[in-house]
C-alpha cells in the first residue's frame, strides 16, 4: 500500500503547480506557460490518485475508470478543437457547468452509498455533520453552477433553435424575485439541517437538488447578455467552491486547496471585470437595469449610404476602426479586415483598431475575433493608447459599438457616468454602422449619433461592410 505521505506529497506538488499556473496566467508573457503548469498539476493529481488506488486495495473498476477518462477526455478535446473562435465564451460557460455538476455528482454519489447499501455504517457525531453539511453545500453550489452556466451559455448565444424556429433567450426579473431567491436559499439551508437528523431521507436530497437548480436559473435569468462575462466569471468561482466542499466530504486536500483557490481568485477576477465595466457586482446580480424605462427616442438622423462613406474614406489618411458587440453578432470581422486591407492598399490609408476593454460579450472578445481574421496584433490598440490619437484620425469607423463610445459617460449622471470610453467623437468624421438609433445596453441615448460630422449606415454589420467594400472597390 502506497504510503499516505506520498499521496499527500503528490497532492502538494499538484496544488503548487496550480498556484504557479494561476499566477502566470495573469501576465501576458507567461500566460501560455501558466496554462501548461495548471494542466501538469491536474495530471499529477490524477496520477497520484490512480496510483494510490492501484497500490492500495487495487483497482477493481479499471474498465469503468479507463472508459470514463477516455470518453470525457475525447469529448472535451473534440469540443475544444472544433469550436469556432467566436463560440469560445459559450464553451467556457458550458465547461464550467460540467465542472459544477461533477462536484455535485461526487457529493451525491457519496451520500447515496449510505442510502442504497444497508450494510454500510452511517457515521455519527461530528463526522456525520461534516459530511451532510459539506454534501448539502456542494449540491447547492454545484447544481446552481450547472443550471446557471447552461442558461448563461444560451444567453451568450442569444437563443436556441427549436424545431427550426429561433427562440431568443428571455431576460426576466421583476424586483419581487430577489426575496424569493433569498427564501429559496434559506430553505436549502434548513433542508441541509434536517438532513443531519435523517441522513438517509431521499426527499430532502431531491428537494435540495431541485431548489438549487431553480436558484441557478433565477440568478441568471434577470441579467442581460452584456453582463454575461461577469456572471460566467462568478459561476466559475462558484464551481471552485463546489469542488472545495466536495473535498470536505472525502477529506481530500487537493480538492480543498484547488477548489478554494479557484473560488477566491475567480471572485477577484469577477470584481476586476466589474471594475472595467464600471459596474458594481451587486447591481449586476440583483438590480436589472436598462430593461423597462429606456429613454424615448425623439430625435432622428438621416442615414448615409455606402458610396458616400467610400468617398469619405478616399482621401482619409488615418482611419480608426472601433469594433463592438455588433461586429461579434454579425460575425463581420473578416469583412472588416478586408476593408482595412483595401483602403491601405488603394488609398495608402493608415488603419488602426481601437479596443475598448469590455467591448463585446467577453473581455478580450474583440482581440480574439480580429485575431481570427488575421488582423496583425500591433494594429489592435488599447483604449488608453488610442484616445490621444483620435483627434488626428480622419474617420472613426464604429461597427456595432454604442455604450463604449457614448459621450454621455463623461457627464456625472446616468448609468454610464464615469465609464471610460473610446473618444470616437474627437475624430474629424464619425461613421457608425448600426441597425438602428436604439439605445445600447445601458439604456442611454447616444449623442454621438446626432452630431453633424456623424454618418450613420443603418444595417447589419456584415451586410453594410460588404456594401462598403464593394463601394470602395468601385472607386
Amino acid at each position: 500500500m502506497i504510503d499516505d505521505q506520498w499521496v499527500g506529497l503528490g497532492y502538494l506538488l499538484s496544488a503548487t503547480l496550480f498556484i504557479f499556473g494561476l499566477k502566470r496566467l495573469s501576465h501576458p508573457r507567461t500566460a501560455p506557460r501558466g496554462n501548461q503548469l495548471g494542466a501538469m498539476g491536474m495530471l499529477v493529481a490524477v496520477l497520484t490518485t490512480v496510483l494510490q488506488m492501484e497500490l492500495g486495495d487495487g483497482i477493481e473498476g479499471w474498465i469503468l475508470i479507463g472508459s470514463g477518462l477516455l470518453l470525457g477526455g475525447l469529448i472535451g478535446w473534440v469540443m475544444a478543437v472544433r469550436v469556432e473562435m467566436t463560440g469560445m465564451p459559450e464553451m467556457v460557460a458550458l465547461f464550467n457547468g460540467f465542472g459544477g455538476a461533477a462536484s455535485a455528482l461526487v457529493a451525491l454519489s457519496e451520500s447515496w452509498k449510505y442510502i442504497e447499501d444497508d450494510t454500510l455504517e452511517i457515521p455519527t457525531g461530528l463526522e456525520l455533520e461534516v459530511m451532510v453539511v459539506a454534501a448539502g453545500l456542494s449540491a447547492l453550489v454545484g447544481w446552481m453552477t450547472l443550471t446557471g452556466s447552461l442558461l448563461a451559455m444560451l444567453k451568450l448565444k442569444g437563443g436556441v433553435e427549436l424545431f427550426g424556429k429561433w427562440i431568443r433567450t428571455p431576460t426576466w426579473g421583476p424586483s419581487w424575485l430577489n426575496p424569493v431567491k433569498a427564501l429559496l436559499f434559506l430553505s436549502t439551508l434548513v433542508l441541509i439541517y434536517m438532513s443531519i437528523q435523517e441522513p438517509t431521507e431521499t426527499n430532502y436530497l431531491f428537494a435540495i437538488i431541485g431548489i438549487s437548480c431553480l436558484l441557478g436559473i433565477l440568478l441568471v435569468l434577470p441579467i442581460g447578455g452584456a453582463d454575461m462575462p461577469v456572471v460566467v466569471s462568478l459561476l466559475n468561482s462558484l464551481s471552485g467552491i463546489a469542488a472545495a466542499f466536495t473535498g470536505f466530504i472525502i477529506s481530500n486536500s487537493v480538492l480543498i486547496v484547488a477548489g478554494s483557490l479557484v473560488g477566491a481568485s475567480g471572485l477577484i477576477l469577477t470584481f476586476i471585470m466589474c471594475k472595467a465595466m464600471n459596474r458594481e457586482l451587486i447591481d449586476v446580480l440583483f438590480k436589472a437595469f436598462g430593461g423597462s424605462d429606456k429613454e424615448q427616442l425623439t430625435r432622428t438622423k438621416v442615414g448615409s449610404d455606402a458610396d458616400e462613406v467610400a468617398m469619405m474614406v478616399d482621401g482619409a489618411q488615418k482611419v480608426i476602426i472601433v469594433p463592438g458587440y455588433g461586429m461579434a453578432v454579425s460575425q463581420c470581422q473578416h469583412q472588416v479586415k478586408e476593408f482595412a486591407d483595401l483602403v491601405s492598399e488603394k488609398f495608402d490609408t493608415e488603419v488602426k483598431y481601437a479596443i475598448h476593454p469590455v467591448a463585446g460579450r467577453m473581455p478580450g472578445h474583440m482581440n480574439v475575433l480580429l485575431a481570427e481574421a488575421n488582423v496583425p496584433y500591433d494594429q489592435l490598440i488599447e483604449m488608453d493608447e488610442i484616445n490621444p490619437e483620435m483627434p488626428e484620425a480622419d474617420i472613426a469607423l464604429i461597427i456595432g459599438a454604442n455604450d463604449t463610445c457614448n459621450p454621455a459617460a463623461r457627464t456625472k449622471e446616468g448609468p454610464l457616468a464615469g465609464m471610460p470610453i473610446i473618444d470616437a467623437d474627437m475624430a474629424r468624421t464619425v461613421v457608425i454602422i448600426k441597425r438602428s438609433l436604439s439605445v445600447g445596453y445601458a439604456g442611454v441615448d447616444n449623442d454621438l449619433f446626432y452630431m453633424d460630422k456623424t454618418m450613420m449606415l443603418f444595417g447589419d454589420g456584415k451586410k453594410m461592410m460588404n456594401e462598403l467594400n464593394a463601394a470602395v472597390k468601385e472607386l
Partner: protein, 103 residues
C-alpha cells in the same frame, strides 16, 4: 472523522482562500477570458473525487447507483479538464501568435 482532521481541512480551506485572493491583482483585459477559462479547468479537480468514488462504488458491489453517479461525474469532470485546458491554450496561442507577427 477525527476533530484534528477537520481542523486541518478547515485550515487548508481558509489559507487557500486567502492565497487565492492575493494571487491575482492586476490582469490586462486581454487575459480576462483565458484566465477565467484556465481557472475553470482547474476547478475540474473534482475528477479526483470522481475517480475515488467510481472505484469504491465498484468494489462495493451493492452500490450500483453511486457507481453510475461517480462515472457520470468522472466523464463531466474530464470534459471540463481536457476541454478547459485545450481551449485556454488555443486562446493564448492566438493572442501570443499574433504578437509575434502572425506566426
Amino acid at each position: 472523522m477525527e476533530p484534528t482532521v477537520l481542523i486541518g481541512s478547515v485550515t487548508l480551506f481558509v489559507m487557500s482562500i486567502f492565497l487565492g485572493f492575493e494571487l491575482i491583482t492586476k490582469v490586462p483585459a486581454t487575459l480576462h477570458t483565458p484566465l477565467m477559462s484556465g481557472a475553470n479547468a482547474i476547478s475540474g479537480i473534482s475528477i479526483v473525487g470522481a475517480l475515488l468514488g467510481a472505484n469504491v462504488a465498484y468494489e462495493g458491489g451493492d452500490t450500483v447507483v453511486s457507481g453510475i453517479l461517480a462515472f457520470i461525474a468522472l466523464v463531466l469532470a474530464m470534459i471540463n479538464v481536457v476541454g478547459g485546458f485545450a481551449v485556454t491554450n488555443r486562446m493564448l496561442n492566438m493572442i501570443a501568435g499574433k504578437k509575434r507577427g502572425g506566426q
